[in-house]
């Protein structure tokens, strides 16, 4: 039954493309939010560190978006480059989780977002080092080393702020509470994740959660912080970041990011 297995292979390829795009968008937007802070950090060492993390994530994003474009080309015959994907998609064509687009309200909010996201991404890429897709496994092998540092960095600051002054503890707790409703979205399963996990290409998000929980608890305890008791934020009729449904703030990020590129159609840089 070559036809049927061909159709099945196309389903998997489509899911892989969608999956890699999600990974790429997570990294791209997480990188962008950190890049906004360069030359605005609380101290010079943090300007270096945040730029460093932003760069790592941007490197991951470029590898992933490039690969998403190439796998898409296999299906459609049309190649979209990393820049086409970053600069020429509409807001609702980005499929990053909403967590990474949360604004840098203050350094505690940045830290909370990084803690929750890099804790997740570390587990994810650890799993993806075993991907049956060699490109993904290769990207994951590099990413997991970087994310280990990102995770440590966020953990260190969470502890310093949680176990610092009264003000820093208050801010860190508020920031965690603001980011927490976006956590469930990281671990949500849908057809895409089920297909890629089934094919051994991607990871089952639910399986990542226990290790993530242990990591986060292991940071909150010495930080003197509690797990926020806030329910997840709803989507829109069940749709959320993975479906292209984002926050209002995201539109401004996209406008700023794309304006120059879109102002010069077809130009090279």
């Amino acid at each position: 039954m070559p036809e049927e297995s061909g159709a099945q292979a196309a389903v998997v390829d489509t899911a892989v493309t969608a999956y890699v795009l999600r990974l790429g968008d997570d990294a791209l937007i997480a990188s962008h939010r950190l890049a906004e802070l360069v030359a605005r950090a609380p101290q010079l060492e943090e300007d270096v560190a945040l730029a460093n993390i932003s760069l790592d994530l941007l490197g991951q994003a470029r590898a992933l978006l490039g690969y998403a474009g190439r796998t898409e080309e296999q299906l459609t015959g049309v190649l979209r480059t990393e820049d086409d994907l970053a600069y020429l998609r509409a807001e609702n064509q980005f499929v990053n989780c909403r967590l990474v687009e949360l604004p840098n309200t203050d350094f505690a909010h940045t830290t909370a977002r990084q803690l929750l996201f890099s804790g997740y991404a570390f587990e994810l890429y650890s799993a993806l080092t075993h991907s049956t897709d060699e490109t993904i496994a290769g990207i994951a092998g590099k990413a997991v080393k970087e994310l280990s540092y990102h995770r440590d960095h966020a953990a260190r600051w969470t502890i310093q702020l949680g176990d610092g002054t009264d003000e820093s503890a208050r801010r860190m707790a508020a920031a965690l509470e603001a980011a927490w409703p976006y956590v469930d979205e990281l671990f949500a399963a849908d057809d895409v994740t089920r297909t890629v996990a089934g094919a051994g290409v991607g990871a089952d998000p639910a399986r990542l959660r226990p290790a993530w929980d242990a990591f986060v608890d292991g940071v909150l305890e010495p930080a003197g912080l509690e797990r926020p008791e806030v329910p997840p934020i709803t989507g829109l009729a069940g749709k959320s970041g993975r479906d292209g449904v984002h926050s209002e703030a995201f539109g401004f990020l996209v406008a700023e990011m794309q304006h120059l590129h879109r102002s010069h159609p077809g130009a090279s840089w």
Binding site: R40, L44, V48, A51, L55, L58
Partner: protein, 331 residues
């Protein structure tokens, strides 16, 4: 000795002679060596100004990170601004070897009592400015700084070796950005040319006022901190960039610019020092903005720095308690 020199306080027997001999031999003064007060003061002023320039200089370039037109350029730009933060770190550390802490120097910067390079009081108004800053501003900075790699004060000289190496890399990247624009669409070419038109004269002003009007220079030369005059460096820079502009296919906005066979240098037109002085006095397009940005970032980060200190103190107290408890247990 010049008349402005402060007499050294408590110089150990023969220290001055040893210092002078080190300078004369073109060797290095190190932090634990005795040094004259005015040597130290000159170095602190210069290193601080240089460090401040690195961190203020992050702003005009960071201004384009979120709008960079390709992901590759965005990565290169983030890395560049990160390098500048790193340069700031080395240089504040070099100043610390002279007994002045970073916090103190930042306060002086924020209060407007220490300067930074006036070039950063100009705005970055287009993407091409990212290229032009790399090519012209970093180019001028390198011309100024390469001689500092042989500066008489060891920590500063060593910081400069590392910084110059990275700056050359940045200059090549800037040149490449402009090269792509100059050979791109007509709009991109125009963007590059407009940018060079804005930055050319300010970059010449980076070498400071003409030698005839330059304060500080003479003593700095004698101390081996400065090795060439402002005008010598400016000429060296012009000689370097004219053929580079040709290679880019861009023009420099000076109708008097031409090769002088006799001098073996390019002649160039008079610099408008009136605008330079206004910018130095604080009335440039971005003077207020740059300092306000720094002050705001610093103030917004105060609670973070306090938290880090408070946490370190708590940890130290806990370690002490545990240490005592274990000793008590052992006793």
């Amino acid at each position: 000795m010049t008349s402005t020199e402060t007499p050294p306080r408590a110089a150990p027997e023969g220290a001055r002679e040893r210092f002078d001999a080190v300078i004369a031999a073109g060797e290095r003064v190190e932090p634990r060596d005795w040094m004259p007060d005015d040597y130290r003061a000159t170095l602190v002023r210069q290193i601080a100004q240089h460090a401040h320039s690195e961190i203020i200089g992050m702003q005009p370039e960071a201004n384009w990170i979120t709008r960079a037109p390709s992901l590759k350029r965005k990565a290169v730009l983030i890395a560049k601004v990160q390098d500048e933060a790193g340069h700031g770190l080395y240089l504040y550390s070099a100043a610390e070897t002279l007994g002045v802490g970073r916090a103190e120097l930042l306060d002086l910067l924020h209060e407007g009592r220490q300067k930074y390079s006036s070039i950063f009081n100009y705005p970055t108004l287009s993407w091409a400015d990212v290229g032009t800053i790399g090519w012209l501003v970093d180019g001028a900075a390198i011309t100024n700084q390469v001689p500092l790699c042989r500066c008489s004060y060891g920590p500063y000289a060593r910081a400069m070796v590392r910084i110059c190496k990275e700056e050359s890399f940045h200059q090549r990247q800037g040149f490449e950005i402009l090269h792509v624009l100059a050979h791109g669409t007509p709009e991109q070419h125009a963007m590059a040319q407009e940018s060079v038109n804005r930055w050319y004269w300010p970059s010449l002003m980076m070498f400071g006022p003409p030698d005839a009007e330059s304060a500080h220079s003479e003593q700095s030369m004698a101390y081996g901190i400065k090795r060439f005059s402002n005008d010598e460096l400016r000429q060296r820079f012009v000689d370097m960039i004219v053929p580079q502009a040709d290679a880019l296919g861009l023009t420099l906005p000076d109708p008097e610019l031409r090769w002088n066979d006799e001098r073996g240098h390019y002649d160039f037109g008079p610099v408008d020092w009136a605008e330079f002085k206004q910018v130095l006095k604080g009335n440039g397009p971005c003077n207020r903005q740059r300092l306000a940005h720094r002050r705001e970032a610093h103030a917004a980060g105060a609670w973070v720095r306090e938290a880090a200190q408070a946490h370190a103190a708590k940890r130290a107290r806990r370690a002490e308690r545990e240490h005592r408890a274990s000793e008590g247990g052992a006793a």
